[in-house]
C-alpha cells in the first residue's frame, strides 16, 4: 500500500517536468534553479571512496544562487546611489537615470542590459516622473543588474547648487597653467585630471 502511495505521488511531479521540457526554452546562464546547488563531481568521488558516510557540504552548497531576472520588464528602475560616508538614494524607484560613463552619457531605463560602467567626473541625473535631480559625481562605477537594479557607487557627489563658480574658474585656470608647465608624465596626468574635473564642474554649473 505504501509503495502505491509513492507511485501516485511520483506521477504529478513527472508531468510537471515534462511540461517544462516541452516549453522549448534555450538554457541561459541566468536560468539558475532555486534549490541550492551541490558540487556533483565532489559528491560522486566521495561516494565512490566512502559510501557509508554522508558527503560534507562544500562552500558552493551554501551559496545562494543568483535569482533569475523577472520574466517581464519592471516598470521602475531601483537605484542605490551610495557614497563612502552616506547613501544618498537607497532602493529608490525611479523612471530613468543618466550616468556619466567614460564612454559618454548613458541613459539607464528599467530592463537595461546588465552593465558595469566606469564613471568619469560628470553629472548624474535621476528622473522620477517630472522631477529631475542632478548630482555632480567625482568618479566611480555604475553596476546595472538584470533585475533592473542600478548600483551607482562614487567617491564624492554634490548637488549642483553647492558648487562655487569662482573656485571652479580659478581651478581651471590653475590646472591649465600647470599642464603647460608640467615636466614629468605624472604631473601632466594630474594636470589633465584637474582640467577634466573642472570642465565637468563648469559644465554642471552652466548646463
Amino acid at each position: 500500500m505504501l509503495r502505491q502511495v509513492s507511485r501516485l505521488l511520483g506521477r504529478p511531479i513527472a508531468a510537471q517536468q515534462q511540461v517544462k521540457m516541452l516549453a522549448g526554452r534555450a538554457f541561459f546562464s541566468t536560468d539558475v534553479p532555486a534549490t541550492p546547488t551541490e558540487d556533483s563531481t565532489f559528491v560522486e568521488s566521495w561516494k565512490k571512496l566512502i559510501p557509508n558516510i554522508e558527503p560534507p557540504k562544500t562552500p558552493s552548497a551554501f551559496m545562494k544562487p543568483r535569482p533569475p531576472p523577472p520574466s517581464s520588464i519592471p516598470s521602475k528602475l531601483t537605484v542605490n546611489f551610495v557614497l563612502p560616508y552616506e547613501s544618498v538614494l537607497s532602493g529608490k524607484e525611479v523612471d530613468m537615470v543618466i550616468v556619466p560613463a567614460t564612454t559618454g552619457q548613458m541613459g539607464v531605463l528599467p530592463g537595461h542590459v546588465p552593465t558595469i560602467a566606469e564613471l568619469k567626473p560628470g553629472i548624474l541625473s535621476v528622473h522620477e516622473g517630472n522631477d529631475v535631480t542632478k548630482y555632480l559625481l567625482s568618479s566611480g562605477f555604475a553596476f546595472i543588474h538584470a533585475n533592473s537594479v542600478a548600483d551607482i557607487i562614487v567617491v564624492e557627489a554634490v548637488p549642483i547648487d553647492r558648487i562655487d563658480q569662482n573656485l571652479v574658474q580659478k581651478g581651471l585656470a590653475e590646472f591649465t597653467q600647470k599642464l603647460n608647465s608640467a615636466t614629468t608624465e605624472l604631473e601632466k596626468a594630474e594636470a589633465q585630471v584637474g582640467i577634466d574635473v573642472h570642465s565637468a564642474l563648469n559644465a554642471a554649473l552652466t548646463g
Binding site: 567617491v155 553647492r162 562655487d164 581651478g171 594630474e190 585630471v193 584637474g194 574635473v197 573642472h198
Partner: protein, 70 residues
C-alpha cells in the same frame, strides 16, 4: 578583444585608479561653497600613528594627522 589597447591617460602615466579617484574627489571638494567645503575637507583628514622598526623592535610611535592639502 582589446587587452592592452586604449589605457586611460592616467594609467599610462603611472597613476593607479585609487589615486585618480582620490584626486578627482579632492578637486570636487575644493570647489564647493563655504559651509560644505570645510565639512567635506574634514572628511578627508587621515589620522594615523607610525612607528619605524629597527632590528626587530619598534621605536616610539609618532601620531600624524594629514589632510589632503599635503
Amino acid at each position: 578583444m582589446a587587452s592592452n589597447a586604449a589605457v586611460p591617460f592616467w594609467r599610462a602615466a603611472g597613476m593607479t585608479y585609487i589615486t585618480y579617484s582620490n584626486i578627482c574627489a579632492t578637486m570636487v571638494r575644493n570647489c564647493l561653497k563655504e559651509p560644505y567645503r570645510t565639512e567635506a575637507l574634514s572628511r578627508e583628514k587621515v589620522h594615523y600613528s607610525v612607528s619605524k622598526w629597527v632590528d626587530g623592535n619598534p621605536e616610539k610611535p609618532s601620531i600624524r594627522s594629514d589632510t589632503s592639502q599635503e
